[in-house]
Symmetry: C2
Subunit: 294 residues, 2 copies
């Protein structure tokens, strides 16, 4: 069993990005500039955003954080998005989700110019991903593909079983892995809450991607000997032994599943750090106009 070390891979990729930024800057170019928009003071959102700002520093990007009170109106938020769309000094920006209930998150996402949508959530980017066209790819699935690639894991002809059909992980990772591409060319099965025989399907998986948000859902009897297991779950569970009172728990019962795997990602330190690196990668592509020319 080999542990997939997302922390080390993400650090490597950030260094590679920083190298490219150095070249851009030494050629007289401008540093890539990512803007984060944060509404309210949710603990999880604050900490994600702080990690993104830190990653920007590591990559040599400029970053800005725009804060709104949790009572901000949708109109005010969208007006700011329009301003960011027009600001030629901003390469990409993200609005940290979730948003307060009085704001229609989909309307906010669709207000973002798809050419600056480095989260890859705008319908144009989602559609282009499905069609197989260049686009900003959703960060978590993109990070998973980077891990498969960096660890030289063959995907062609493999059966990938995805647990979960969310718009930010399950559906896009299924789309990406079924494409005629490398990584890709997998037979892909998507299971979810309405699947009655999940175990029967997970036992067929050469590559199992768990993205349900259900702690320790995947047990050792559900995994084929030698499978590659990617755990996308990050549920906070109470843990009195930790100073902060909680720890992150994955969708996979790591302790018992790991001995049966060829490769497995831990939680934390597996997919998590890769999500932020994908966002950095998208921001670099935005700054270089590699996806969209104008």
């Amino acid at each position: 069993m080999q542990m997939i070390d997302g922390k080390t891979v993400s650090a490597q990729i950030k260094e590679e990005i920083a190298e490219q930024v150095k070249e851009i800057v030494s050629a007289g170019g401008r540093r890539p500039h990512l803007v984060g928009v944060l509404v309210g003071h949710d603990g999880g959102s604050e900490s994600y955003m702080a990690s993104k700002v830190k990653a920007c520093e590591q990559c040599g990007f400029r970053s800005s954080l725009i804060r709104f009170d949790e009572n901000v109106t949708q109109e005010t938020l969208i007006a700011e998005i329009h301003r960011l769309n027009e600001d030629t000094g901003v390469d990409g920006f993200i609005v940290q989700l979730p948003l307060p209930r009085h704001i229609n998150a989909q309307a906010v996402i669709e207000a973002i110019d798809y050419r600056k949508d480095v989260d890859g959530f705008h319908p144009i980017n989602v559609g282009r991903l499905s069609i197989g066209l260049p686009c900003f790819r959703s960060a978590t699935p993109s990070g998973i593909l980077m891990l498969l690639e960096r660890y030289g894991i063959e995907t062609r002809g493999k059966h990938c079983v995805v647990l979960g059909r969310s718009n930010i992980v399950g559906k896009p990772v299924a789309t990406m892995l079924m494409q005629k591409a490398n990584p890709g060319n997998c037979t892909v099965t998507v299971c979810h809450s309405a699947t009655p025989n999940i175990k029967e399907l997970t036992l067929q998986a050469d590559i199992l991607i768990a993205a349900l948000g259900s702690p320790n859902f995947v047990t050792e009897d559900m995994v084929k000997e030698g499978a590659v297991v990617i755990d996308v779950g990050t549920t906070r569970v109470e843990d009195a032994t930790r100073e902060r009172g909680w720890r992150l728990c994955g969708d996979v019962d790591f302790e018992h599943v790991a001995p049966h795997c060829s490769f497995i990602t831990p939680v934390p330190g597996g997919v998590g750090p890769m999500t932020i690196v994908s966002l950095m990668h998208n921001t670099l592509l935005a700054a270089k106009h590699e996806i969209y020319q104008s």
Copy 2:
């Protein structure tokens, strides 16, 4: 075994659409108007377009056909698309594919205003389909769902195996059937040219959708007893016994597979007529501004 009769269902739905058009017209509204753009004189394209024009008549729609010589430049074609985008007398329009090689089909598709893209090929419609938002749904997959619905075939919790990953059938039908919706809520597996063990997977299918374009690919040993089989294949094969010298052949060896099925679509007369009906349905939705308000 029950035959799924796409001809009868499509005739019914066209009548239902015609009823709605009558109501619109008697309330002083304008008939839905679909425009077809046809480049060159490909036999298949001519006949598809003729069927669409005929279906418009049956639904009480106004239809127009715009023809271009096969040497038309991409610029001229796109200029016409821009004109149709602006024309408030046009509810929806389609550009018949395939286009001559010197024209970038994707650029043409993306030039269409997504609010008039009744084929559902524009990235915005593809993306919204994936996200689960209202959109113009790709015609063939939408026709398949209509058949499942009209025949009362339960999809929830069923394992649907899709053969083929094309942008117009395989990928969108997989997307639609995995959604939390009805029809939908299927466990979905997508197989394709890189899948080494197709038979192992098709044998698990409660619903098998064959969209490979490979005549008689699905043989009786590949189908589970009692499965629902949907055949999307329409390959022209030589047939000296027919006056025109060819016949349409599906992806399923109908003769030997049918006795094992609970439901099966024939070719022709199964999915084919439904594709055109879906286009009519999308055009009606466009005329009523039910998907996009403006």
